[in-house]
């Protein structure tokens, strides 16, 4: 049995990547039981699509980083099950998509590849059990500004100035984002995890979290190897809005050089100062 989706493509007609998003949607509908949501009609008359959105996994296909389809999904409060961006897919496959609005040979090849990958059944993998032990709850200091509350855990955490944290247990660290990130993004609708097994440098990218407002790159506080990701976040990214320090950790990293990483990390005292300044200067006007 093949997978099937409710497909919401950006269908941007004046850009190559947008036109490819449409071709991918058509290909999925042709090769599986997937159904297409026309973004233009959906915007003005969503009743037409409510049933398939409820019944099927929602796949959002953005052409480029303007993320029109994602923003539409966010406006409509949809639960996104999977998401791709055509320009990213092209880059990852080394395909140089050009200007033509009618897809040529290489564009169609890309469409085939992307559709096939989407329809492939995921291999059932048992995520390795984490051996490290992490507390479930922490004590927080709270900085309040208007209706917003910014928590910072008081003990045991390292932070970078990019509002990401690491909590170390033995040779492993859990990393995640802080309250400043989730408050700035507001309702988080999608989490792109890093790949298990890859190496990350300190300040390297550990996936992204995004809302209708923006995409935030998770900036790793530590260097090492990604040994686990928080699978729960893929189906429930809103956990990050509830509390980004506990259940909503992003990944576990096997540390390679914590001592050196620490040179560029802040403790509670240091980060709380940075956070207060940021909130006062930049948070939601």
């Amino acid at each position: 049995m093949s997978k099937s989706f409710a497909v919401l493509p950006c269908n941007g007609l004046d850009k190559c990547a947008g036109c490819i998003s449409r071709e991918i949607a058509l290909k999925l509908a042709e090769k599986s039981e997937s159904e297409i949501i026309c973004p233009v009609l959906y915007r003005v008359a969503d009743a037409r699509y409510n049933k398939i959105i409820q019944e099927k996994h929602l796949l959002v296909i953005d052409g480029c980083q303007t993320r029109c389809a994602s923003k539409l999904a966010s406006e409509k409060g949809l639960k996104v099950a999977q998401k791709i961006t055509v320009t990213e897919e092209a880059k990852n496959r080394g395909v140089d998509i050009g200007e033509p609005l009618k897809p040529g040979e290489k564009e169609l090849e890309l469409v085939e590849m992307v559709a096939a990958a989407l329809l492939k059944q995921p291999e059932v993998e048992n995520a390795p059990e984490s051996k490290a032990i992490f507390p479930e709850h922490f004590d927080y200091e709270v900085y309040k500004k208007d209706k917003f509350k910014f928590r910072v855990p008081k003990e045991g955490f390292y932070f970078n100035e990019n509002d990401c944290w690491a909590y170390v247990s033995g040779k492993t660290a859990r990393v995640g984002v802080g309250d400043y990130v989730q408050q700035s993004l507001s309702d988080i609708m999608f989490f792109t995890p890093p790949t298990v097994g890859t190496d990350v440098e300190q300040f390297g990218e550990l996936g992204t979290v995004e809302s209708g407002k923006a995409v935030f790159e998770v900036v790793s506080p530590v260097s090492g190897k990604v040994i686990a990701i928080n699978e729960e976040l893929s189906s429930a990214p809103e956990l990050i809005n509830m509390n980004p320090y506990e259940k909503a950790w992003i990944a576990e990293i096997e540390l390679t050089d914590l001592e050196s990483d620490k040179e560029l990390l802040l403790d509670f005292e240091g980060y709380f100062k940075v956070l207060k300044r940021k909130v006062d200067e930049f948070h939601v006007k």
């Binding site: 480029c64 923006a214 900036v219 802040l266």
Partner: protein
Amino acid sequence: MSEMSEETFMGVPRDKIDWSPRIDYDKCNYCMECVEFCPHKVYEVRENEDKKLVVKNPDNCVVFCRACGKTCGVDALSFPDKGETTKKIKEIRKEM
């Protein structure tokens, strides 16, 4: 405004750290999404010039932040290598 910039990053004077967006003018379509996004006044719009968008205050850019790049539909923004930048910052700290 310079007084809004962070003066230091992890103890290193901000102006010693080369971290800010680079605009590829062959790709930029002046949609100004990045300008609207960035709260740090890194960019400046110059309506009457050929290059309608410039990086006016590179030192206002948050070190290791690439968020404006993720708003760019035409992928016209790039940033220095993170590993190299980290290495440099550590070197400067040692000299201090």
